[in-house]
């Protein structure tokens, strides 16, 4: 029996039973006392470990969460408060002025639409390409498949700045300059390798028996993929979609190089609040806070799928 299964089976049993045949089951009063003391010691140890873990967890949460909270608080500060020396965490006076300034700026609404459009197209492209690629690689196990997946990994190592300018020139020569499709294709070059790797690990976790059973029941190979495998890895697809969406949603460099009037996305507009003549912290943080809302909502919406997807890839059958 595997260790994980044994732990799971033992979970409902008494400590004595769990201890196994070598553990003493009877004894004197002093033995019971000693065991009682040991159990108390063990409990105390567990409590302190748990406390330590909670402290570490809280520290990690502060570390990750504080910058965002600071951004959020700054977005409600008055102009002079945003540049206070030394800085303050909470606004002295709460105001929505920064949100009005940021959202009232020309081009902001259009940039939001562009960001959504680009991220959706890029996510769709990534999934449409990554799902069959990953399925083929994991199921056929060919040499070319292995080379392909390694090559996909290598493309992740190339700094985006190295391909940004050639990619922008290529798109311009194809007549796609300043279009969301050009930016989506560029973003897909970032998310596709990761999507293939993620989907490969999810497909590997699906027992082949499932497909074979479906085939026995009359499904074709593609039918088994569509009707059986894809529903099983839907959590994994959600995780992959989230990563692909986020990669596009937050991307800045390609957007800077490839967009102008028609397809400028919000990260570039946020950066525009820092100019050679000053930094408008309040408006910048307000727009950044608004821009975070869709991805936060998306993550909450797909939370269950994400957790399911994460665990799907973690344990192989």
């Amino acid at each position: 029996m595997r260790v994980a299964e044994r732990i799971k089976n033992d979970a409902g049993k008494s400590p004595a039973a769990v201890a196994g045949p070598s553990a003493p089951t009877t004894g004197s009063g002093s033995g019971r006392k000693r065991r009682g003391v040991n159990r108390e010691g063990l409990e105390a140890g567990r409590r302190s470990t748990r406390t330590l873990l909670w402290v570490l967890l809280a520290a990690a949460m502060v570390l990750y969460g504080f910058p965002f909270l600071y951004l959020l608080f700054t977005s409600f500060k008055t102009p002079i408060d945003t540049i206070a020396v030394p800085p303050t965490i909470l606004p002295k006076e709460w105001t929505l002025e920064n949100y009005a300034n940021a959202l009232g700026r020309s081009g902001v609404v259009a940039s939001f639409i562009n960001s959504i459009q680009t991220a959706i197209i890029s996510t769709l492209l990534s999934l449409v390409l990554a799902v069959p690629a990953a399925y083929g690689i994991t199921r056929y196990q060919t040499l070319s498949g292995r080379i392909f997946i390694m090559a996909a990994l290598v493309t992740r190592m190339v700094p985006p700045v190295a391909i940004g300018i050639p990619l922008a020139s290529m798109m311009a020569s194809m007549g796609l300059a300043d279009t969301p499709i050009a930016l989506s294709i560029a973003h897909t070059t970032i998310s596709l390798p990761l999507s293939i790797w993620l989907m490969s690990s999810f497909f590997e976790a699906v027992p082949r028996d499932l497909e074979e059973s479906a085939t026995v029941d009359g499904c074709s190979r593609l039918g088994a993929l569509w009707r059986v495998v894809i529903p099983v890895v839907s959590g994994g697809i959600a995780v992959t979609a989230i990563f692909a969406f986020l990669a596009s949603w937050n991307e800045f460099l390609f957007a800077l190089l490839m967009t102008a009037i028609r397809s400028q996305t919000t990260p570039v507009v946020i950066a525009n609040f820092q100019t050679q003549f000053g930094l408008d912290w309040g408006s910048m943080t307000a727009l950044a806070a608004v821009y975070s809302i869709p991805v936060i909502l998306l993550t909450l919406l797909l939370q269950r799928k994400i957790v399911a997807g994460m665990t799907l890839g973690a344990v192989k059958g």
Partner: protein
């Protein structure tokens, strides 16, 4: 289910997705077109985000006067140089007019067209001499200064006019407390106000322009004299020693202080004086503790007189645009309506007559000192080398940071000379 059926389903879904994607990307949400087609009266103007407001009024006026519609392509300063390099080198430009920082002009001089016809004799008289000189590259004018700036002195009028401060200063230094005009006065006043948690001034280790202004005031060209590297001469050392001497009257961490930090310190009331770009005067927040208490004065003078480094932006027409006529019409509009920039949030212009028109109006007290600084005897633009940005980033700023942290000025300047010689050879 048969394989054919499944394939059909995949093909249908894929087709729908592709159709949606293509339909959605026919054009983005920002506007109808990126590049102005040949002969149209619409121009795309590439501009740094901070300068956009400067040209908004001009664009509206240009539509009325010349029938030229303007779309602005707004980019952050840090990414603009890369974008310009990429588009100019590919020969495919997404804009018909580009507003270029003066330091980029030498780098892109071959990618933009001459606009000599705009520089009439009358125009040349109405633009600051240093800018006329800078705009002329290889015998042709390639950029019209849309707006310009220079560092002036901003000081706390309330502290300078305080009777006790005046008396104490007189007693300690033997002359009247007033806006500084010389290096010595600046040092004394900075030292005097460094007390009770306040500092006399800031020292900016993260930027080079201010030190370069002091080099000019000390009587030397900045860094390069023609092809010769002169950064180790006496004037550079004198300017560096003066710059570093102010560290004791400035907040700690001078090596990291840049424009934004210095502006914050002054607007928060932490420093009594700052040498800063003139536009900052009109950008003091209304709720700042120093709002309404700030005075302005021209940049201080060294042995060579008042000297500043102008910070103009030039409107240029790329050779690759198909819309040259409309682009030049827009530039002419920008010249004719130059004073409209003063009404914008940045509040700058490039024509002397535009600044003079406003200098006596309330709220524009920075213009008099700005005009005086831009006309200063020692005022000069940065060296016209395409390596300038590289020299700044890799040599000048690191050298200043070491200097304000206590490095030996002569050694640092000698090292800088070697590095710059390697870069420009």
């Amino acid at each position: 289910m048969s394989t054919r059926k499944t394939i059909n389903r995949f093909v249908t879904i894929g087709g729908v997705c592709t159709a949606v994607a293509l339909a959605a990307t026919g054009c983005g949400a920002g506007g109808p077109s990126t590049t102005g087609s040949a002969g149209t009266s619409t121009v795309n103007v590439l501009v740094e985000a901070g300068g956009h407001a400067e040209l908004t009024g001009v664009a509206e006026q240009c539509k009325k006067d010349a029938g030229v519609n303007v779309n602005f392509v707004e980019l952050p300063y840090d990414g603009m140089f890369n974008r310009l390099s990429s588009e100019f080198s590919s020969g495919n430009v997404s804009f018909d007019v580009a507003a270029l920082d003066s330091v980029w002009l030498p780098s892109f001089k071959d990618a933009v067209q001459p606009i000599d016809e705009i520089f009439t004799d009358e125009a040349k008289k109405d633009i600051f001499p240093a800018l006329v000189k800078e705009a002329n590259v290889d015998g042709h004018f390639i950029g019209l200064p849309a707006w310009t700036n220079a560092e002036i002195i901003l000081y706390r009028k309330d502290l300078f006019e305080d009777a006790k401060n005046k008396a104490d200063f007189q007693a300690k230094y033997g002359y009247e407390l007033a806006a500084p005009t010389t290096w010595k006065q600046y040092q004394d006043i900075a030292e005097f106000f460094t007390k009770d948690g306040m500092y006399g001034t800031d020292v900016k280790g993260g930027v080079e322009t201010e030190w370069l202004a002091h080099v000019l005031q000390a009587g030397s060209p900045m860094v390069l004299d023609g092809d010769k590297v002169v950064i180790d001469n006496a004037a550079h050392k004198e300017a560096l020693d003066f710059y570093v001497s102010l560290v004791k009257s400035a907040p700690s961490g001078a090596a990291q202080v840049d424009w934004a930090a210095a502006q914050n310190l002054f607007n928060q009331g932490k420093t009594a004086m700052t040498r800063f770009w003139a536009h900052a005067y009109r950008q003091i927040p209304k709720d700042s503790p120093v709002a309404g208490k700030v005075g302005t004065a021209p940049m201080i003078a060294g042995s060579a007189g008042i000297g500043g480094v102008p910070g103009p932006w030039y409107l240029t027409v790329p050779k690759a645009t198909k819309n040259t006529d409309a682009a030049k019409k827009f530039i002419k509009c920008a010249y004719d309506n130059n004073s409209m920039g003063i009404e914008s949030s940045l509040g700058l212009a490039s024509r002397i007559s535009a600044f003079e028109k406003y200098q006596d109006k309330a709220g524009y007290e920075s213009f008099g000192p700005l005009i005086e600084t831009l006309n200063g005897k020692a005022t000069a633009t940065r060296p016209a080398t395409e390596k300038w940005q590289q020299i700044v980033d890799t040599v000048l700023v690191p050298m200043l940071q070491k200097a304000v942290a206590g490095g030996d000025s002569a050694t640092l300047l000698a090292d800088a000379k070697k590095q710059i010689e390697d870069l420009v050879k």
